[in-house]
């Protein structure tokens, strides 16, 4: 074998990433990973995106993954580089996003000695990863990577951390490349197919239901089976609600879609859940932001719970018919069974139930009052929808603006709504938008954010300039931490403890300082033009700072410790 066929550890790493079809690595260099950076420099298959903070790298990889379905890759140096990744890893873990984090480490002989920039990243990240590897031998690198991707992507997806001590990357130690691309892990084999007996029981419940609701979550989006979900919904003529993570799982314009459910969900979705006699839960985990008080949750419903992760089933809400398997496979099994028993699709199915739901719909729970002088945050989201025709990728940060985006922008397709669901990470939206823009440079990518959230990763404006990532940032600027303030209004007699943001920067000038375009909008009459203008500037990042009414609350809202449908319709008005 010629020396050409031998590679050092760092080269094995880049070669492995190329073999695994990785397009981008999001990262930041440092002492322990300089050999990797040198190897990246000497190849052209995998591009490296230099961020300004490692947390942003993880969110960029995350956004890229949510939009494309391809596993995002992060590279960070030992110590602070790795610890900066922790929030992004946790974020990916909570929302089941496949991610591989290449974590540099001090040389093996220094590990455990409190060396410069040493942190036990495998230990730090243990509760928030699907799995992690301590890679200790240069020869192992390709197979550890193949295993990491396999684990990240299959079963319930999630982040995987690989610790790489500097000495195994040494440019002077060269070994042949060998990778087993279809790794076998004897202790790991996710259940794909639903159990036949449970499928039979589920179908029996579905065809005998009088008040059925299909409740679907992020699992439908992550496993790309929206078409199958839509087919099942139409086949049964069932009402379908999505979780925050599941929006786009069925088109937001579909007549059977009854809106998001949960804390700020639509009245019809939460009422339908509360009054259902059968609930078919697909790739959703009964998050507490959905159920409200578990003891009062849908007491009369038979719950069929389909999930790839057995731990999600009966974790918070007891499932009467548990089905472990891939959502797509299980839905197809259900459809086949419906065929087998001769169940006919019928638009009259659930006629009474639909009449009841239409009455709840008529309450129009997403209505709001406009004001001639003040911009309502809901108007901003509606303007973005109008000018993108609902075709843009929308990323959001966390807070009131996130809920307004979820409520007022109907998502027609999956993977177009990118937000931090489980962890609720402020600072997620902007870097996530950058990851999406890298994947789809021609698409409109809009980050809906707030004056609080955007400041948590605002340094990435610099990265956008370097790589020409013309995302549109729309900040619903209410000079406060809006959701905190809302809770303080509702639950703490209006005592605004540290929810007011004093000394905000001038975001227009800030955008300009980073080499971008800034627009300020402070009157309802300017809103439409500004959004249109921002979207028309295809080659420039535009930061639209919209000064919105700071007193606006997100409604409807579940009452604390109530049933799923105990809600405030608007201020002082119960449903």
């Amino acid at each position: 074998m010629s020396t050409q066929d031998h590679y050092c550890g760092a080269q094995l790493l880049t070669k492995s990433l190329a073999e695994l079809n990785v397009e981008f690595i999001f990262g930041y260099p440092g002492g322990s990973v300089l050999d990797i950076y040198d190897a990246i420099f000497q190849q052209d298959k995998v591009s490296h995106i230099l961020v300004r903070h490692e947390q942003a790298a993880t969110h960029m990889a995350d956004g890229y993954t949510r939009a494309t379905g391809k596993t995002g890759v992060v590279l960070a140096t030992s110590g602070p580089g790795n610890t900066n990744c922790v929030t992004g890893i946790a974020n990916a873990y909570m929302d089941s996003i496949p991610m591989v984090v290449l974590a540099g480490q001090v040389p093996s002989n220094l590990i455990g000695g409190d060396a410069f920039q040493e942190t036990d990243i495998v230990g730090c990240s243990r509760p928030i990863v699907k799995h992690s590897f301590n890679c200790r031998d240069v020869n192992e690198i390709p197979n550890v990577l193949a295993k990491a991707f396999y684990l990240a992507e299959t079963g319930r997806p999630g982040p995987v951390v690989i610790e790489l001590p500097k000495d195994i990357l040494n440019p002077n130690v060269k070994v042949p490349f060998h990778m087993d691309k279809t790794p076998h892990i004897r202790s790991y084999s996710p259940t794909v197919k639903g159990h036949g007996k449970q499928i039979r029981k589920a179908v029996e419940s579905l065809v005998n239901a009088e008040r059925l609701v299909i409740y679907s979550g992020g699992g439908i989006v992550l496993s790309d089976c929206s078409d199958t979900l839509t087919e099942l919904v139409e086949r049964l003529n069932a009402p379908c609600t999505n979780t925050l993570m599941g929006l786009g799982g069925i088109s937001g314009l579909h007549p059977n879609f009854i809106g998001m459910l949960g804390m700020h969900g639509s009245v019809e979705a939460n009422k339908a859940m509360a009054n259902a006699d059968v609930i078919l839960a697909l790739g959703a985990r009964f998050d507490d932001r959905v159920t409200n008080k578990v003891e009062k949750f849908c007491p009369n419903a038979t719950i069929i719970h389909v999930d790839i992760d057995p731990t999600s089933i009966s974790k918070t809400v007891n499932a009467h018919i548990p089905i472990v398997g891939y959502a797509d496979t299980v839905m197809k099994q259900i459809l086949a069974k419906l065929d087998a028993i001769g169940h006919q699709p019928n638009s009259d199915n659930f006629a009474h139930w639909w009449q009841q739901i239409e009455q709840w719909r008529a309450l129009n729970s997403f209505s709001y009052q406009t004001d001639a002088e003040k911009i309502k945050p809901q108007q901003v989201v509606e303007a973005i929808y109008k000018h993108t025709q609902g075709d843009a990728y929308i990323t959001s940060d966390v807070g009131q603006h996130q809920m307004f985006a979820a409520q007022y922008y109907p998502f027609k397709e999956p993977r177009k709504w990118i937000n931090s669901g489980g962890l609720g990470t402020m600072g997620f939206g902007f870097p996530a938008a950058m990851g999406v823009k890298l994947a789809f440079p021609e698409a409109d990518v809009v980050c809906i954010t707030g004056d609080g959230s955007i400041q948590m990763n605002i340094q990435e404006l610099s990265t956008c300039l370097q790589y020409n990532l013309p995302v549109v940032i729309v900040s619903l600027n209410n000079r406060s931490l809006g959701m905190v303030r809302q809770w303080q209004d509702m639950l703490y007699d209006g005592r605004h403890s540290s929810s007011y943001m004093e000394s905000l920067p001038d975001f227009v000038k800030l955008a300009e300082a980073y080499g971008h375009v800034g627009l300020r909008v402070d009157h309802p009459d300017q809103l439409d033009d500004a959004i249109k203008q921002a979207l028309s500037m295809k080659n420039r990042l535009v930061f639209v700072d919209v000064l919105v009414d700071e007193t606006e609350h997100v409604y409807p809202m579940q009452m604390r410790f109530g049933a799923i449908d105990d809600m405030w319709l608007r201020k002082g008005e119960k449903v």
């Binding site: 495998v122 230990g123 243990r126 509760p127 699907k130 799995h131 992690s132 301590n134 684990l151 892990i185 004897r186 202790s187 790991y188 992760d309 057995p310 731990t311 009966s314 974790k315 007891n318």
Partner: protein
């Protein structure tokens, strides 16, 4: 209710910490824990004794099973099983009367005197947890206990049923 879980997992660095970490992060209780490689050096076996109702135990079992390193999990309390614990007990043995009493108790409980010092005896005993506790109490009535070290519970199913790959 007390439960005994047997876990078969890869004998790899970090595998144990994942299990222990899972218990603490999900607020599950660990009463005792035992871990060692099996006859197959690539496999470790853990015996965990814990407390919880059926629902808690179901979550514990599922969560442990979900760990990538874990091959099998079995709830021994569900079926006929054998459980053992080992204890090493150091007691003061200053007078000949105490020495005789300690030796007599050791005989009754089927323990062994494994070390004899100038002033202390060290005893070894194995059996079910309550037997060991009874032995320690009996010793305490006769003399002063200097030190006790108890292993966690080990368990294995009775009969043909085996936890193996």
């Amino acid at each position: 209710m007390r439960r005994i879980l047997s876990v078969l997992l890869e004998n790899e660095p970090g595998a144990l910490s994942r299990i222990v970490g899972l218990f603490s992060q999900r607020a599950f209780n660990i009463d005792s824990l035992n871990v060692a490689p099996t006859d197959d050096p690539t496999l470790s076996r853990i015996t965990i004794s814990t407390f919880g109702d059926d629902q808690v135990l179901e979550q514990i079992t599922k969560q442990v099973n979900k760990l990538v390193d874990v091959l099998k999990v079995s709830d021994l309390t569900e079926r006929q099983h054998i459980e053992r614990e080992l204890a090493l007990i150091k007691v003061l043995a200053l007078t000949s009367r105490t020495r005789t009493e300690v030796a007599r108790l050791s005989d009754i409980f089927h323990g062994n005197i494994v070390d004899v010092g100038k002033q202390v005896y060290t005893l070894a005993i194995h059996g079910k947890a309550d037997k060991i506790s009874a032995f320690i109490d009996a010793l305490r009535n006769e003399t002063d206990i200097v030190e006790v070290v108890r292993s966690g519970t080990l368990g294995i199913a009775r009969g043909e049923k085996a936890l193996s790959v």
